[in-house]
């Protein structure tokens, strides 16, 4: 992925990211075949459940080759430079949300954590103010959906106080 730092790299240049994509497609095809091999074919006529995965796996292998050719020829469209930090901040926020939901922390805390990290990823530095805003907004959403639309959102310590 080093080529990312060179937005105007020469057109005919081996694209490493493209090779990674081609490899990922080939791995996916292998997983499909491995999974299909464990299926029992019980159908008398026509296709069993294992036929379609094999067909799709063949398609994926062909496409992996196509992507590989594009990568080796440097045929991928040019990419702009990117800043990885905000991406990791948002992914961290999603991980935090999943952890809080998983450990029963409830909807308000979980989505507030995501709100604050996303807003920080977009350049906000006022974490305390954003936390307050997040808590108010997510509490309102919780009340609206739980009480008005009677959708059940997971409850944690904060939700039980309402």
């Amino acid at each position: 992925m080093r080529s990312e730092n060179l937005p105007h790299a020469p057109a005919r240049h081996v694209d490493r990211a493209g090779i990674v994509i081609a490899a990922a497609l080939a791995v996916l095809a292998a997983v499909l075949v491995w999974d299909a091999s464990k299926l029992a074919s019980t159908t008398m006529y026509g296709m069993g459940p294992e036929a379609m995965p094999i067909v799709i796996a063949i398609g994926l292998v062909i496409l992996a080759a196509g992507n590989l050719i594009d990568a080796l020829r440097g045929n991928l469209p040019p990419r702009e430079s990117m800043d990885p930090k905000p991406v990791w901040l948002i992914i961290g926020g999603l991980a935090l949300l999943i952890a809080i939901i998983g450990f029963g922390g409830g909807f308000i805390l979980a989505t507030s954590a995501l709100f604050v990290t996303t807003s920080a990823a977009f350049g906000r530095r006022a974490v305390l103010a954003d936390t307050a805003i997040a808590l108010v907004i997510t509490t309102l959403i919780y009340l609206a959906f739980d009480k008005l639309l009677t959708l059940s959102l997971p409850a944690g310590p904060l939700e039980r106080l309402l």
Binding site: Y45, L63, L97, I98, G102, L149, T150
Partner: protein, 500 residues
């Protein structure tokens, strides 16, 4: 003919019930409010608002959906005109001229011509839908499973390969979607595929989780990663909101021509509103009496593409409702909306639940009218929504996006899938893979597989059944040509370049 009028009148009676009018109004309002947010196209609008309709009955929910669908389209064009960030490629032509008009202080007339043009096009195209649908349904009831399978092959190829930038990348997206469609219990034999022993995966991949992950989370990650590039600038709406007599004179023909491009192309199982909008744009550019204004804010360049966009949106409902065939990401989300009630659009639904189908078609007319009345006076409100600071906007979008999944299935596995699809959406945007084919592949893949297996079971395993039906043979031929054409044309292009 007469039956269509009777069915439509019946649908109107359903749609005009006060509660259904209220649902349509809420749908239109929410659809515009979400659709107007930068970076959110109609498909994501529908995906995000799906949870809101969970607790409604199918009739009310579909009517609200019609409102959300058209509302999202209107909202998208407002964004395209005022900040030049089209939420989807179909609004790109609108952004081209519309944003220039807004910069020149003619934002009001640009918004007006797009709103009225959308109304005109939407109404004509919905009439087209109402009259074309019963005819297609008569035709479609004779379809055997092999014909359906062949039809889906055409949709697969046209959606992913024929009209994209790169057939290889489009097909890659499609096959990722097809792979995701395999996950879960095989309906015919009850065996689990690609579930890896995780019980949550037995039900398969949820379409809404995939769409929200790819579109909402992916978009947020992508925008965050390139925040250091130019900031988008919101053009204030200055001057009069209304169109002058001159504006009207220059708009009405583009509206009608745009509709003529949009509806038939949308109704073909070719997918995408991009082609008709760009066809309309280039036609208006050629026919205009003011060629010097093109590129600097010509009203024809907003009126035509906007009409084409809306007409093709109504056009995609033709294959969706009559054949159960979604040809755009938005139509795929509409299909997901049907499926959450166990309803499958197609000829059977017209026979079994005419109240639902015709109620939906009738409420498209109502939603269109409501939008015309709502949008121009409320444009100030939408502009204020556009002014939400970016950090809070995307934080709010992500909270809303995860909320849909939390409300449907509050499990760690489902949320992890949402996050993983988000990262996938980010990478696909970064490496320029189209996203709609993934959604289409997930939703159509399992249907195509079961049609094919049904066809082969009936023929006792003889694959020639696919070629014995003239319909299916023709369609498979079309699919093959559509698959090979871009490669052949590209080879031809290279050949020419070498000759020079």
């Amino acid at each position: 003919m007469i039956e269509t009028f009777a069915a439509l009148a019946h649908g109107m009676a359903v749609a005009m019930q006060p509660m259904n009018l209220l649902y349509a109004l809420i749908g239109v309002f929410l659809g515009t409010a979400v659709g107007v947010l930068p970076g959110i196209g109609p498909a994501l609008t529908v995906a995000l608002l799906l949870p809101v309709t969970y607790k409604l009955d199918p009739g009310g929910s579909l009517i609200m959906f019609a409102g959300i669908y058209y509302g999202g389209m209107y909202g998208g064009s407002t964004t395209a005109i005022l900040i030049n960030t089209p939420g989807e490629s179909a609004s790109m032509a609108t952004a081209l001229e519309g944003n220039k008009m807004a910069k020149a202080g003619r934002g009001g007339p640009a918004l007006a011509t797009s709103a009225i043009g959308s109304f005109v096009a939407g109404t004509i195209a919905t009439i087209g839908l109402a009259f074309l649908a019963p005819w297609l349904v008569d035709f479609a009831v004779r379809f055997g499973p092999e014909d359906y399978f062949a039809l889906m092959c055409v949709a697969f190829v046209t959606v992913s390969a024929t009209f994209g930038d790169s057939p290889v990348r489009g097909l890659t997206s499609l096959f990722i979607g097809l792979t995701l469609g395999l996950v879960g219990i095989d309906k015919l034999t009850g065996q689990a595929r690609l579930a890896f022993g995780i019980p949550e995966l037995l039900d398969g991949v949820e379409v809404t989780t995939l769409a929200v992950g790819l579109f909402a989370v992916g978009e947020a990650l992508y925008v965050a990663s390139r925040r250091h590039h130019a900031e988008e600038k919101l053009e204030p709406v200055r001057g009069s909101l209304w169109m002058t007599r001159e504006d009207w004179r220059r708009s009405w023909k583009p509206w009608l021509r745009g509709t003529l491009f949009g509806f038939p192309i949308g109704a073909l199982p070719a997918g995408g509103a991009e082609i008709p909008t760009f066809l309309s744009y280039s036609t208006e550019r050629r026919l205009t009496k003011h060629p010097e204004e093109f590129g600097r804010g010509a009203i024809e360049g907003v009126a035509g593409p906007e009409a084409a966009n809306n007409a093709s949106a109504a056009g995609t409902l033709v294959p969706l409702l009559t054949l159960g065939l979604p040809t755009s990401a938005t139509a795929a989300m509409m299909l997901a909306g049907f499926q959450q009630y166990g309803l499958n659009p197609g000829p059977l639904l017209f026979a079994e639940r005419p109240d639902l189908v015709w109620g939906l078609i009738a409420s498209l007319f109502i939603a269109n009218g409501m939008l015309l009345v709502l949008n121009l006076p409320l444009v100030g409100l939408w502009v204020r929504l556009l002014a939400i600071p970016q950090p809070w906007l995307y934080a709010g979008i992500l909270v809303f996006a995860t909320m849909g999944t939390i409300a449907a299935k509050p499990s760690v596995v489902e949320l992890s899938m949402l996050a993983a699809f988000g990262v996938m959406g980010f990478l696909m945007r970064r490496f320029d893979f189209p996203i709609a084919p993934v959604v289409i592949g997930l939703i159509l893949g399992p249907i195509a597989e079961s049609q094919l297996r049904r066809a082969l079971a009936i023929s006792l395993g003889d694959p020639l059944v696919l070629l014995q039906s003239p319909m299916s043979a023709t369609l498979l031929g079309i699919a093959l040509i559509a698959l090979l054409a871009p490669f052949a044309l590209r080879g031809l292009g290279r050949f020419k370049a070498n000759e020079d």
